[in-house]
């Protein structure tokens, strides 16, 4: 595809920080003893519902969140249950309700701000970066900003350049923010609850195409006390030959790629990042030290992307463990086209991940023949 940007790491690079990761924390507990299924939409909805019921300071605000129950029906039933003061429909003014949310957070409320898509958060980014992210620091801890900004992020299908951008790299480059990107229903529930309870501003990046997907969930996930740690990745599938890092929808693609690879005798370890900032460098490096190979996958643009950061982290901390150049898969370096054929070329596909993993394992054609 097109999305592949090949990253070769200079062999003579010296680890700038000299840091070595000591504790190789395994990020997640295993809830795979699951029986029931739940959609990501229901996971988000139930997380909101439970947190609103547990804490009267939590309220939801955004375009169409009340009467319409959210552009993607994430807030279904909440207006009826909590009333219009806590499920607040707004005029079409992203800069307005984002700034107002920040102000409410300054004064003790815990707003959850929904963007119809994160593309429209660009209208309001000053309040997110210059107000929400920096106030706690600038006020020396006097003004905390417990706020969550959530909504679909990244490419959907057939909606063109102004509705399809991934903002994970943008927001995760800003200190003061925490950035989460759930993949499964377990992630969605556990991370949204964590985000709402967190005292800092959290950017919560959902994916429109995952809302309707069902995932098996354990009884523990259903428990209202369930919560996931911010800053911890999850190993979705263990493997020994190559590490694949991904977040959001790309986790699913990576898991499918891992299945295909398994048939060809390659054992891929798939890391679901869950948290983009803080990034679980420990989990990533531990995995790479085991597999000695790394493929990063994301839908966003390649330059200064999440993959670039992961690659840098591995070069800094586990350079001598690498047996192959890091493979970086990203969206094409162009605004998203609409035409279905071009759109398909502009975002990573499962086959792209399979080919990249094979290259990393020297199982395909020689390096010179790119791709």
């Amino acid at each position: 595809m097109l999305g592949i940007v090949r990253q070769r790491i200079a062999r003579q690079g010296i680890n700038a920080s000299g840091m070595r990761i000591q504790s190789l924390v395994c990020a997640s507990r295993d809830y795979s003893s699951a029986a029931k299924e739940m959609t990501v939409r229901d996971a988000l909805n139930s997380a909101l519902d439970e947190e609103m019921s547990a804490d009267p300071k939590v309220f939801l605000m955004g375009e169409e969140v009340g009467e319409y129950q959210g552009a993607y029906k994430i807030s279904k039933g909440l207006l009826d249950k909590y009333g219009p003061e806590r499920v607040r429909d707004t005029p079409i003014t992203e800069a307005g309700f984002t700034g107002i949310g920040v102000g409410a957070a300054y004064y003790g409320l815990k707003p959850v701000i929904e963007f119809m898509t994160f593309n429209f958060s660009m209208q309001a980014i000053d309040h997110i970066i210059n107000s929400a992210a920096k106030s706690n620091y600038m006020s020396a801890g006097q003004i905390s900003v417990p706020i969550v900004f959530r909504g679909p992020n990244g490419a959907a299908a057939g909606v063109g350049a102004q509705h399809s951008q991934c903002y994970a790299a943008w927001y995760s480059s800003c200190p003061g923010l925490k950035v989460l990107a759930p993949y499964s229903s377990e992630d969605a529930r556990g991370l949204l609850k964590a985000a709402i309870r967190d005292p800092d501003p959290v950017i919560f990046l959902e994916n429109e195409l995952l809302y309707g997907e069902s995932f098996p969930v354990s009884a523990e996930v259903f428990d209202s006390s369930f919560c996931l740690p911010i800053g911890k990745a999850k190993i979705e599938r263990e493997g020994k030959d190559v590490t694949i890092t991904a977040f959001s929808k790309m986790v699913g693609y990576s898991l499918k790629a891992a299945e295909i690879l398994a048939k060809e005798g390659i054992s891929a370890e798939v890391i679901n990042l869950r948290s983009i900032r803080p990034l679980d460098r420990a989990a990533i490096n531990a995995s790479v030290r085991k597999t000695n190979r790394l493929v990063t996958v994301e839908e966003g643009f390649p330059q200064h992307g999440v993959g670039a950061e992961i690659c840098a982290s591995v070069v800094e901390d586990s350079f001598e463990y690498l047996d192959a150049p890091v493979e970086r898969i990203a969206g094409a370096d162009v605004p998203m086209p609409y035409a279905a054929n071009l759109e398909r070329m502009a975002v990573p596909q499962i086959e792209d991940i399979v080919r990249a993993a094979k290259r990393a394992c020297y199982r395909s054609v020689p390096m010179a023949a790119t791709a």
Binding site: P91, P337, L342, M345, R355
Partner: protein, 468 residues
């Protein structure tokens, strides 16, 4: 195609009643020296541009004008103008006792209201206006259906707003630059954009002027002076002001026209655009389609002002409220607005009251949040197309036979256009990388080369019909 609006400026005596509370009336003859080439040298021009269009003659003056102020003790000489003192502590009311009235000339039955005040239009223009409105209806029905059949990914109708679309377009000139929201394809239709061109865009094929880069209904055409639709609400408003400023600098006899919804007026861009347009004295016409709804948000949740027109006044912009379902009133108001915008080099705000008689888009079911009777009433009783039809029929310019012929012809043309658009090739790979920059940088060449190689080496991973 030349705008037919250009040939019908026969009205002479009608002076529009724009909401204007400044003593200087719209007839203030600034335009006298606009066309006087000597004005450049004769005026002692201290503005940065050597054009008389930059004499901000009225600025500052208007706020001073509170009558003769011989008794200066009752007056504060404020930098923004003189302000009278009063011992009364009085808060300005959030609303006036009477709402701004709505200009209309045809009643619900398409009969001219007595003492009407509208621009006379020729049979030729009237018939084209009506047939384009009818075409828009047929186009909406057929494209909507195509989306429902899964042939295009998205569509959005203009149902109920045909008069705003077509009548405003008819009153403008072809050179006037359009900055649309998304519910104004009628302006393009009026300007000669063909049904095939509409279909090509919706199908994102090779022939689409946007090269398949934009969602359906995001039409745009340089040669029709129609800036490509932008998905982000209200961003077109400041753009229109900027372009109007460019027209002003060039001394062109044209204005920019931007359309937007009631919802769009909540964005900061609306406020910035109005304020800048006023301060920069930019020849721009703001046309707000106040259709009562922004997806599921009713206007009562959107703002608490008396609609949009009052805001124009607050920003120092001539404003008028018009019945958006009355094509004649709409035509007349836009025609007058254009004259003021260009002759007086000033912005104008038109609030057209209407109703979004269709769902917001193909992703919406509006019966979930508004009463079906409300939709029906507007759709049937207030339909702007049948209202205008009654008027042209009464003039003897239209008949049942003409109606039948027109609709069947358009229907057939559209079905053909859709077939052609659907069968046409999708844009080729090269189009994916073109236009990111004016001149593609080497990394994009590299990307394209690498993609082509990948497809050649792994054809099984790619769709077979991909235009290479």
């Amino acid at each position: 195609m030349a705008s037919l609006g250009a040939v019908i400026n026969h009205h002479s005596c009608w002076v529009p009643h724009f909401t204007d509370h400044h003593p200087q009336s719209p007839s203030n003859p600034i335009h006298h020296f606009l066309r006087n080439p000597d004005a450049i040298s004769s005026s002692n021009n201290t503005t940065p541009f050597a054009s008389n269009r930059f004499n901000y003659t009225e600025a500052g003056r208007r706020l001073d004008s509170i009558g003769d102020t011989t008794d200066d003790t009752g007056v504060l000489n404020f930098p923004g103008g003189k302000v009278k003192f009063t011992p009364e502590m009085e808060f300005v009311s959030p609303s006036s006792t009477e709402r701004i009235r709505c200009y209309r000339v045809l009643d619900d039955n398409g009969q001219p209201i007595t003492n009407h005040n509208f621009v006379q239009i020729s049979e030729e223009v009237a018939v084209k206006m009506y047939s384009d409105m009818a075409t828009l209806q047929v186009m909406d029905t057929i494209f909507y259906e195509a989306q429902r059949q899964g042939r295009i990914s998205f569509y959005l109708t203009t149902i109920g707003e045909e008069a705003i679309n077509i009548a405003s377009a008819a009153a403008l000139h072809f050179d006037d630059l359009i900055f649309p929201q998304y519910r104004e394809p009628g302006v393009l239709l009026w300007r000669g954009f063909t049904l095939q061109e509409f279909a090509n865009q919706c199908f994102g094929n090779e022939a689409d002027y946007g090269k398949g880069r934009q969602m359906p209904i995001h039409y745009g055409s340089n040669k029709h002076n129609y800036i490509t639709v932008s998905s982000t609400i209200a961003t077109q408003l400041p753009h229109a002001v900027g372009a109007a400023y460019a027209l002003k600098m060039d001394g062109r006899d044209a204005c920019t026209v931007t359309y937007f919804g009631d919802g769009g007026t909540s964005e900061g861009d609306f406020h910035a655009a109005l304020n800048f347009a006023a301060v920069m004295e930019a020849p721009v016409i703001f046309i707000c389609r106040n259709n009562g709804w922004a997806i599921s948000t009713p206007v009562s949740d959107q703002f608490r002002s008396d609609g949009i027109a009052v805001r124009g006044q607050a920003y120092g912009v001539h404003s008028i409220r018009v019945d958006g379902n009355d094509a004649l009133a709409m035509f007349s108001a836009v025609e007058a607005a254009r004259r003021i915008a260009i002759n007086e080099q000033k912005p104008i705000l038109i609030e057209a009251l209407t109703y979004r008689a269709g769902h917001h888009s193909t992703s919406d079911d509006s019966t979930k949040y508004r009463p079906a009777e409300e939709i029906e009433w507007w759709r049937i009783e207030q339909d702007p197309v049948s209202r205008f039809r009654k008027w042209i029929e009464a003039n003897g310019w239209w008949s049942d036979e003409a109606e039948y012929k027109h609709r069947t012809t358009i229907r057939k043309q559209l079905l053909d256009a859709i077939q052609v658009a659907e069968k046409s090739k999708k844009p080729p790979i090269a189009e994916m990388f073109a236009d990111v920059y004016d001149v593609p940088p080497s990394n994009l060449f590299e990307q394209e080369r690498s993609l082509r190689e990948t497809i050649q080496r792994h054809p099984q991973d790619f769709p077979p019909d991909f235009p290479f």
